[in-house]
């Protein structure tokens, strides 16, 4: 049997990481211009900051942290929806991980839970089925979040609820899509991004093909990367190689998991139950057309947004004025540029969502980056 340690240690091998760093430094020294890489996905931001990879790179390689953190892009009014639903009589609200901590306009879900609302973070979305079956006299609402990665799990849940006739399981869908977010970033005339590290697990589901239009339209390299430090360093090398040869191509470094077409079975079940929504307001980025999913009309009997329409608040709520999450998500600022970073806004008391999730850029900087800011090592 292969030992787990042997598996992941290969992707964290110090010699490999150093060799990749040397090669990147060598090649990048021939390039005059800055290489501004947006890692779209918060998972990559986390890898870069946690493993200190930015400290191993030359000064003309800069990271611009992208909007790919499902918690970070959730606008306050959607959290308010969750809070409102959770406070309705006989409702159990289910959601994933960090969502519990994201501040809405009247506090986060942890606060409403402490005040008596039945809010449960799930480890496995399929637990929603059991909870709904065990509580037939309650309405169980799954507050579904995430990019293409976690959408199939929601689709399977809907499928199971339909097939098993679990009528008390409803859904509040907040699934968002990566390509429209890339378009929104690039549509900004101030954007400095000239290369992308493409998401890992999103691409496992959707396939690398979803990035082809962006590569052509913006004439920029996109390298789909795994989440381990060696993956990210190799992807950076591949970007630098493309820049060196003046190319702009789609490349898949994470080829052990990502194919051109992706997981067709997952895509099929998503298409069976969900469809693209006209518009979704992203925290920091504003409304982006065709950037999120909703339940198809024939499943509106499971759509909490339809069923509780009259109770749900409709007002759009912006972040605190001092919070620069919007600029950070668009790649126009880095966390330390924000006046409230580490002062008024900390993981204990986040003003903006980028400070909440471990995948958020501000949170990653706050947790890990003090060292590289204080005394950069090269």
């Amino acid at each position: 049997m292969i030992k787990l340690a042997d598996l992941y240690q290969q992707f964290r091998n110090p010699d490999t990481i150093r060799a990749l760093s040397n090669r990147i430094n060598q090649l990048a020294s021939d390039i005059d211009a800055d290489i501004n890489i947006m890692e779209v996905c918060g998972g990559h931001t986390h890898t870069i900051m946690k493993y200190g990879l930015n400290q191993l790179l030359p000064s003309n390689i800069k990271f611009i942290h992208g909007p790919g953190c499902p918690v970070c892009i959730m606008p306050k009014e959607r959290i308010d929806h969750a809070a409102t639903l959770a406070q309705l009589p006989d409702v159990i609200l289910l959601t994933l991980g960090d969502m519990i901590r994201v501040p809405g306009s009247k506090g986060n879900l942890a606060k409403f839970r402490s005040q008596g609302a039945d809010i449960r973070p799930l480890y496995d979305p399929m637990d929603a089925i059991t909870i709904a079956q065990e509580n037939p006299d309650k309405t169980v609402i799954f507050f579904a979040i995430g990019f293409e990665t976690s959408t199939p799990m929601t689709a399977v849940l809907i499928d199971q609820a339909e097939k098993l006739h679990i009528d008390n399981l409803l859904f509040h869908i907040n699934h968002v899509l990566v390509p429209p977010a890339i378009d929104a970033v690039m549509a900004d005339t101030q954007s400095k991004v000239n290369a992308f590290i493409g998401p890992a697990h999103v691409s496992v589901i959707s396939g690398a093909k979803i990035y082809r239009p962006a590569v052509e339209q913006y004439n920029t390299p996109i390298v789909v990367s795994g989440f381990e430090p060696v993956d990210v360093m190799e992807s950076i090398l591949r970007i630098v190689q493309q820049k060196h040869e003046d190319k702009a191509e789609l490349d898949v470094q994470y080829s052990r998991a990502v194919s051109e077409d992706g997981n067709l079975a997952a895509q099929a079940i998503i298409n069976q139950y969900l469809t693209v929504k006209d518009s979704f307001r992203w925290r920091g980025l504003g409304p982006i057309p065709n950037s999120a999913l909703r339940l198809k009309d024939e499943f509106k009997h499971r759509d909490a947004e339809v069923i509780f329409k009259t109770q749900l608040p409709t007002e759009e709520i912006d972040d605190h004025k001092a919070c620069q999450c919007g600029d950070i998500l668009r790649g126009l600022s880095n966390p330390p540029d924000c006046k409230v970073f580490g002062r008024g806004c900390t993981p204990d008391n986040p003003l903006g969502s980028c400070m909440v999730s471990s995948e958020g850029a501000c949170n990653a900087y706050y947790r890990y980056a003090g060292v590289s800011h204080a005394n950069p090592k090269k």
Partner: protein
């Protein structure tokens, strides 16, 4: 009527009458017997002299039974370890149970037996106690509080005592208790041979003291794990601490769980793992003493104290970068994708 194995705890078992006496006599006195407890006075009489350590802790673990221990073992080891970490001999304990109506007597018996067994490792005795039974739904099975007192035989062990050039030693691989508890929760259907590190540390500490090791600071890395201890020390002593990731022992099972759920082994709780800060010159001897004990064969120097970046803990990676090792924050929630 004597207590039956298949009974459940009733509200009357906490009522102060006959049923309560039966529970106390049949279960608690049998397991915990010692002259001070059996004197049944309103308070235990203790003969103390000199500097004495005094500590208390409440235990509310879910699930109550886990691989490598249960709430009873934890309630003894936890309090005894707090005394040991102050260089004190664990001597006298108090023990309060808050039991939910309907709790199985058989489970209570198992818990009480574990407590009695665990006390043998330190020689501590339960000398006073209390039992309350609350209506169903008002507690989660059983809660236990233990307090402990003990004579300090090694002075000046303190969070304030770290100085530059001290080295940091960890007694064994980290994160086992936190990982075992996560693994045992119903919502994670994982299988593994992982067991909690839950253990009484006094026998090892006693040997370190006997060997006259100059211990500056010593703490068991319970909730908050290694990160919490190192950060507390860095703040309290106003020093910096540098640790090398490659030297920190982590088992494959714990690492695997962390990989799956996006946790860090540094943040996971331990219940039988401790950290020592001591002068560099004392490190070899301390390691020699520690590795003689079966649970410490992985003891290792993981870092050192510095007068740079005061108040902060820096983790150095094997490839030459570094980052802050911060205090864990909020609930441990699994990553989303």
């Amino acid at each position: 009527m004597p207590i039956q194995k298949n009974d459940q705890v009733q509200l009357s078992h906490g009522g102060g009458g006959k049923e309560m006496n039966t529970l106390i006599n049949d279960l608690f006195f049998k397991a915990f017997s010692n002259p001070i407890l059996e004197s049944q006075e309103d308070a235990a009489q203790l003969q103390l002299s000199g500097a004495t350590a005094f500590t208390t802790d409440s235990f509310t673990v879910d699930p109550l039974f886990f691989a490598g221990g249960n709430i009873g073992k934890l309630a003894i080891a936890g309090t005894v370890n707090d005394l040991a970490m102050m260089g004190a001999i664990p001597e006298y304990l108090s023990c309060s149970f808050i039991i939910e109506e309907g709790f199985a007597i058989q489970d209570l018996q198992t818990i009480v037996n574990s407590m009695a067994e665990e006390m043998q490792y330190s020689g501590a005795h339960i000398v006073c106690g209390d039992t309350k039974v609350v209506p169903k739904g008002c507690a989660d099975g059983i809660f236990i509080n233990t307090s402990g007192v003990g004579k300090i035989i090694k002075q000046n062990i303190s969070v304030n005592n770290l100085v530059a050039d001290d080295v940091i030693i960890v007694s064994r691989d980290i994160g086992r208790h936190g990982a075992a508890i996560l693994m045992a929760r119903d919502s994670l259907s994982l299988e593994s041979e992982l067991t909690s590190d839950c253990a009484t540390l006094w026998p090892i500490v006693e040997q370190l003291i006997a060997a006259n090791i100059d211990i500056h600071a010593m703490r068991d890395a319970t909730r908050g794990g290694l990160s919490a201890v190192l950060n507390e020390w860095a703040t309290a002593s106003n020093v910096g601490i540098d640790v090398d990731e490659k030297n920190i022992p982590v088992s494959s099972e714990v690492q695997g769980l962390c990989e799956l759920y996006g946790f860090e082994p540094f943040d996971l709780a331990n219940e039988g793992t401790f950290i020592i800060a001591l002068p560099r010159s004392a490190a070899d001897k301390a390691l020699e003493v520690m590795t003689q004990y079966c649970q410490c064969d992985q003891a290792a120097v993981i870092g050192y104290v510095t007068d740079e970046h005061n108040g902060k803990v820096v983790l150095n990676t094997p490839w030459g970068s570094s980052r802050y090792l911060d205090l864990p924050q909020g609930e441990l929630l699994p990553r989303i994708c």
